[in-house]
Point group: C2
Chain length 397, copies 2
């Protein structure tokens, strides 16, 4: 993991709210400088958590003063009782900071269906107010549920000759029954960015990073990515895509989101391999992405990779089932840069040795040329192993 530089306007504190019977910090409180812009992307689930609904509403204001993350309880599917704890957090934090409730952002992750205990939330948050500020690693560790390591990334961009920073923390993809595969990601920058522009930029970055990863095709009720721009740096403010430095900032944001997204896949449940699937020659970018996700979500493809088996027939199957325009007799498939099938059949004198060697590695590259257009997409996933079954079936709640 990289060491994250300190960032002006972002003060982290952690506490033990004891949302579960464990002896670790599980409440993260991050205070943000006045004037911090915020943008966010949230789960498309029709059964979102109370916290997701609140964030969606609060994002309309575009301003943030604090982020509170609860680990160990997702507070999803808890109805009015779930909102009570969120309301308590909003009141406490807005009083503490003398700001509007709409400037307080809240996430929760963990078991579904149990209301977040409001007394524990209150005691935990009060303890966090009094705690000493902590490092990025401690905050990244406190938002974990069954992740196997804290996940952080950092990058920088030059705006008007000034070097601004972007740092992020994320959790996701490890779990024990009955926790959900929730992904929570938080990006911070000391740059000054208008909330509307920050939202547009986050949308663009998300489309090519978080929305291009899959571990098991199951979409969480709580997925949340929030971006905070504290404006504490003296670099010129960004108001629109046309401002000098906006392109550099977007590139850095894309890079950071990609780093964070890849960390989630690398810590995918039971994963032993990181898989990149690049589809080209599709009719449209949307079609390329749908085909790539069809491959990435196929249990047969994922188990083949786990078995280090260059089973390209299963990739044909996954292309075929995607329902997107494709022509079997124009399809080409490669592993690690070696073409194994072309024009609808295996290449002449196919030599499996270099492909088998590639499959023994930790990073597997699959390329598919649909052969009918000029559009492409890349997605990332992990293999499907006994570890996934053990995590999700063997240990009962």
């Amino acid at each position: 993991m990289p060491k994250l530089p300190e960032m002006s306007g972002v003060t982290r504190r952690i506490a033990q709210a004891r949302y579960k019977e464990w002896d670790r910090c599980d409440l993260t409180y991050i205070e943000l400088a006045e004037g911090t812009s915020v943008a966010g992307v949230l789960t498309q689930s029709k059964c979102p958590s109370t916290e997701v609904e609140w964030c969606r509403k609060a994002l309309l204001g575009g301003k943030a003063r604090a982020l509170v993350v609860n680990a160990g309880n997702a507070n999803a599917f808890t109805g009015a009782r779930g909102m009570e704890a969120v309301q308590r957090i909003l009141s406490l934090a807005s009083n503490h900071l003398d700001c509007c409730e709409e400037e307080i952002f809240v996430s929760s992750t963990g078991v579904i269906g149990e209301p977040l205990p409001k007394d524990r939330a209150e005691a935990g948050l009060n303890a966090a107010f009094m705690a000493e500020p902590c490092g990025w690693t401690e905050a990244a560790a406190t938002i974990m549920t069954t992740d196997t390591f804290p996940k952080m990334a950092t990058t920088r961009a030059i705006i008007g000759g000034k070097t601004i920073h972007l740092s992020g923390i994320i959790k996701g993809s490890g779990m024990i029954a009955p926790d959900m595969a929730t992904m929570l990601g938080y990006v911070f920058t000391d740059a000054t960015v208008d909330p509307g522009l920050l939202q547009d930029m986050l949308n663009a970055a998300t489309a090519k990073s978080f929305n291009c990863i899959t571990v098991d095709s199951d979409t969480s009720t709580s997925d949340t990515v929030l971006a905070f721009a504290t404006g504490q740096h003296d670099a010129p403010a960004l108001q629109s895509f046309d401002d000098p430095g906006a392109d550099a900032f977007q590139a850095a944001l894309n890079d950071l989101c990609m780093q964070l997204a890849h960390l989630v896949v690398r810590d995918g449940e039971g994963a032993s391999k990181f898989i990149e699937i690049a589809v080209m020659g599709a009719e449209s970018a949307e079609s390329a992405k749908r085909i790539a996700l069809s491959i990435a979500n196929s249990p047969l493809v994922k188990t083949a990779i786990a078995g280090e088996d260059a089973n390209w027939g299963r990739i044909v199957m996954a292309v075929g089932k995607a329902g997107e325009p494709a022509d079997r007799d124009k399809l080409a498939i490669g592993f690690g840069g070696v073409t194994v099938a072309r024009d609808g059949l295996v290449v002449p004198d196919y030599d499996e040795a270099p492909v088998a060697a590639h499959l023994k590695g930790d990073v597997i590259e699959i390329s598919v040329d649909i052969g009918i257009g000029n559009s492409k997409a890349t997605v990332w996933t992990c293999d499907l192993t006994h570890g996934y079954i053990s995590i999700n079936a063997d240990y009962r709640s």
Copy 2:
């Protein structure tokens, strides 16, 4: 397994084509009486096998004299070389029976990407022509790949006071890497049914049976269901849905297809539980089915059932990700007839004991009431276990 009655006009023979290095019969040749009507449903894959393409074309004629099934090689993604073996089979069988090639139906199942060896197909088919007729069980065993048992079903219907029979054989859902999860199903009846009507009836039966099962969400390149009506019974011919006996025949066909479909799920790769998922209260039947399949294909739901864990939070997740109209606060979920969650939260004083007892059984019933409409759908699946990973990853090709 039921004992299938003999059926006039359906003569089965088997032979060893040795498509793989094994000492078993792997070619099934079923001769059908002159005048047999045929109907079929085939995979929607954009990368179908040569055999699927041939069947689609031959079905236009509506008549059948023979069915040839090759096991051990799917002959999919084999281009022109794959068609050579199919052409050889068509020539041989049509000469043997003095009929058109369009009356010969061919299926193959097994490894993808290797052309079906045409010399073995020819020798095997010639041997089958000379073989003694065999029973239904032998034919059902010969179309298997890695199925763990031969699958058959039978039923009957009364048409104009005459009892006609419907019998079927099917294979699917067991496999060893790199074989594909192909489903091949064949239904036979001695009734006289017009091909167009038979097709309409098969479509209706398929929509509620074969198209409502899933083992692992991976759609095969070779899925095929064919229905043959030999017309050898003296029951009145069926020409339209309005004919006396048509309703009884449709009901019997539905029953037979459902029996066969359930056998595939029961033999799902690594399956330890048979799961029925009933969704009601949805906005439309299509929406109900999409929600039901979202639950049935969720690895998290399937592993929870494998772990005998009444993890209803994962069902909420799967409803939410389906993208269909739903209202979290109207959702109700039950296991084995016991409601565990209602109106967006767990029922008061939830007692897990009866639910836990139900989950220890072999047949798991999940019911979901979306609470916003009057439409429903039921689908069937199996759990996701270590056995699935072992079958598809541990044993390399």
